[in-house]
């Protein structure tokens, strides 16, 4: 029972399919007719063609999406996409790009063909109408319908935002980001400037010596005495005696030694009288007696004397004796 029913259903379906009109039933010459894209109409309704434009305002450097909607075709799977890129009415106004379309269903009510159009100038104001022929099976005649023209607006190019370069700070050693300010603007010394102090040495020395001779005559005399070895030694030791603990004893000792080496004073002469007589024997008139008496007085007195006056006096005596000796 059920097997018989299935066979019947398949038979009915085949009958329906076989009844669906097909463009293959038309003569070849009819199929090649201009503006005929294999649309067949069956029943009271004719085939309709319309444009769908998105958007209707497009910038000159932009694109719009154009869709041709073919409705009421009895053979939706057989419809051919009108080649708009071959039609001068379109190519004069637009660059035409054919987009891929999804295959329609067998019993689809409408079929959509998609295009992308890029206007060639600001003067383009509409999508041209498309003449669309279809064949009515019942009458066996061709009919004409149109996808009506659609107004569009082409706008001037949108000013592109200038790409702004990323703000990058200037890099470098930190101390280079300083404007150096002048300090004191001193010119570097030249060779002559550097040599000047050296060149003045002889002059300054000569002037120094001249002034010294003029200002310190005693010192000059003393300096001459230093040429004698005994005198120089005695004067140096007297100079050192100033800072000693017992300058008086040292002074007396230094002077005795000086007299021994310079005037052959016997080493046995120790007392002031012996010294004075020893000196006088050598023919030199001196006041050594008073000096050594003063030394003794100062050394053994209860009142302590610093002895510096005796040191100065000893220097004077040496100068006096050297003068006498000269």
């Amino acid at each position: 029972m059920s097997g018989t029913g299935s066979l019947l259903a398949i038979g009915l379906l085949l009958a329906v399919v076989q009844d669906r009109p097909t463009v293959e039933s038309l003569p070849v010459i009819d199929r090649q007719r201009e503006n005929f894209y294999h649309a067949l109409a069956a029943g009271p309704k004719g085939v309709e063609a319309t444009w769908l434009v998105t958007p209707t305002t497009v910038p000159i450097d932009g694109e719009l999406s154009l869709t041709l909607i073919v409705a009421n075709a009895a053979n939706p799977k057989e419809l051919v996409k009108p080649p708009l890129d071959k039609f001068e009415a379109f190519t004069a106004l637009f660059q035409v790009f054919l987009d891929a379309d999804a295959p329609p269903e067998t019993d689809a009510h409408e079929v959509r063909f998609r295009y992308r159009l890029r206007p060639r100038s600001l003067d383009v104001t509409s999508i041209p109408s498309l003449k669309y022929l279809y064949y009515r099976m019942e009458g066996g005649m061709f009919y004409t319908t149109y996808a009506r023209s659609v107004e569009i607006k082409v706008a001037p190019p949108v000013a592109k935002a200038t790409p702004v370069a990323a703000v990058v700070p200037l890099e470098g050693p930190e101390e280079f980001f300083q404007l150096a300010e002048d300090g004191a603007l001193l010119s570097p010394p030249t060779f002559l400037t550097i040599a000047f102090p050296i060149l003045t040495v002889p002059i300054v020395v000569v002037v120094w010596i001249g002034l010294w001779h003029r200002l310190f005559p005693n010192a000059v005399r003393l300096a001459k005495l230093r040429r004698n070895r005994a005198a120089r030694r005695a004067l140096d030791r007297l100079n050192g005696a100033r800072s000693m603990n017992d300058p008086i004893a040292i002074t007396a000792h230094v002077l005795r030694e000086y007299l021994t080496s310079r005037f052959a004073l016997p080493s046995s002469a120790q007392t002031p009288n012996e010294i004075a007589s020893g000196i006088e024997d050598s023919g030199v008139r001196t006041s050594s007696f008073d000096f050594f008496r003063a030394c003794d007085a100062a050394r053994f007195s209860t009142e302590r004397d610093t002895g510096l006056s005796l040191v100065v006096r000893a220097e004077g005596l040496i100068a006096e004796w050297e003068g006498a000796a000269a």
Binding site: P189, V201, V205, A219
Partner: protein, 271 residues
């Protein structure tokens, strides 16, 4: 903005004598360049604008450096810094070195040159004879200034004078040693001066060059000759000039190796 920069460049090229304050006297430093330098510092946050200001400043500094008689270490320092910040690394190195030719003892110029040299991308050195990295300034004249010599001369002369004078007058014991010390001081000053002059003369005899672009060091004065060292000399590298022939310069790198580079890729220090 670009118009304004164009005006600034024209003014810079004309020189700024009398242009900023109207005075006919020679200013002690290029005020226009200084003012552009300050503008560059203000725009530091945007490197493109900042570099423009430093470029103008560098042009004016260069112009004034050639024409001013009164130079200073500060002037040289600002000039070199402006070049560096304008992106002119070779010119910056040259400016530092020109400053150091006049003021070799200036510590800021020495430090600036060392910093600028660190920006030069030297190749890895495998052989000491082809060493490219220059020596830091370590000559005597980089350490002793004429001011130092003048002070040393004063002190040595004073010691010599006092020593001699006391030796011939009071005959003090210390006079002779002091005079000897003073004399040795005078000799040291004279020797230091002689050495500094010798170093300066050596510098003048074989001028330094700075490369403005990468260049292959070739074995002869032509592009057909093979390269003396594998890697090219980098932009900013410093060499010494040995001779010139047919648009090529014979140079010696720091390590001692000699070779040839085209004349148009070198800046002469002190030209």
């Amino acid at each position: 903005m670009s118009f304004w920069f164009a005006i600034q460049i024209v003014v810079a090229l004309q020189g700024n004598e009398g242009s900023t304050d109207g005075s006919a006297s020679t200013p002690t430093r290029p005020r226009f360049a200084d003012s552009c330098f300050r503008d560059g510092l203000k725009e530091r946050g945007e490197s493109a604008d900042s570099r423009k200001w430093f470029s103008i400043a560098a042009i004016d500094y260069d112009n004034n450096w050639r024409h001013f008689e009164k130079k200073s270490a500060t002037f040289a320092l600002n000039r070199a810094r402006a070049h560096f910040l304008a992106g002119n690394l070779p010119q910056s190195i040259r400016a530092f070195r020109e400053g150091l030719r006049l003021y070799p003892w200036d510590a800021e110029l020495q430090r600036g040159l060392t910093l600028a040299r660190t920006a030069v991308v030297y190749p890895v050195e495998t052989d000491s004879s082809v060493r490219l990295r220059p020596e830091p300034p370590r000559e005597l004249r980089n350490r002793v200034s004429p001011f130092d010599l003048f002070i040393a001369s004063m002190i040595a002369s004073a010691l010599l004078t006092v020593g001699l004078a006391r030796r011939f007058t009071a005959r003090d014991r210390w006079a002779t040693p002091v005079a000897i010390i003073g004399f040795l001081g005078v000799l040291a000053v004279a020797g230091a001066w002689w050495q500094c002059e010798r170093e300066a003369n050596r510098d003048r005899e074989r001028p330094g060059l700075v490369l403005v672009a990468d260049a292959v060091l070739r074995t002869g004065n032509g592009p057909s000759y093979t390269s003396r060292i594998e890697a090219p000399l980098p932009r900013g590298a410093e060499v010494r000039e040995v001779g010139r022939r047919g648009g090529w310069v014979q140079v010696q790198v720091t390590g001692g190796a000699m070779g040839w580079v085209p004349e148009d890729v070198v800046l002469v220090v002190g030209q």
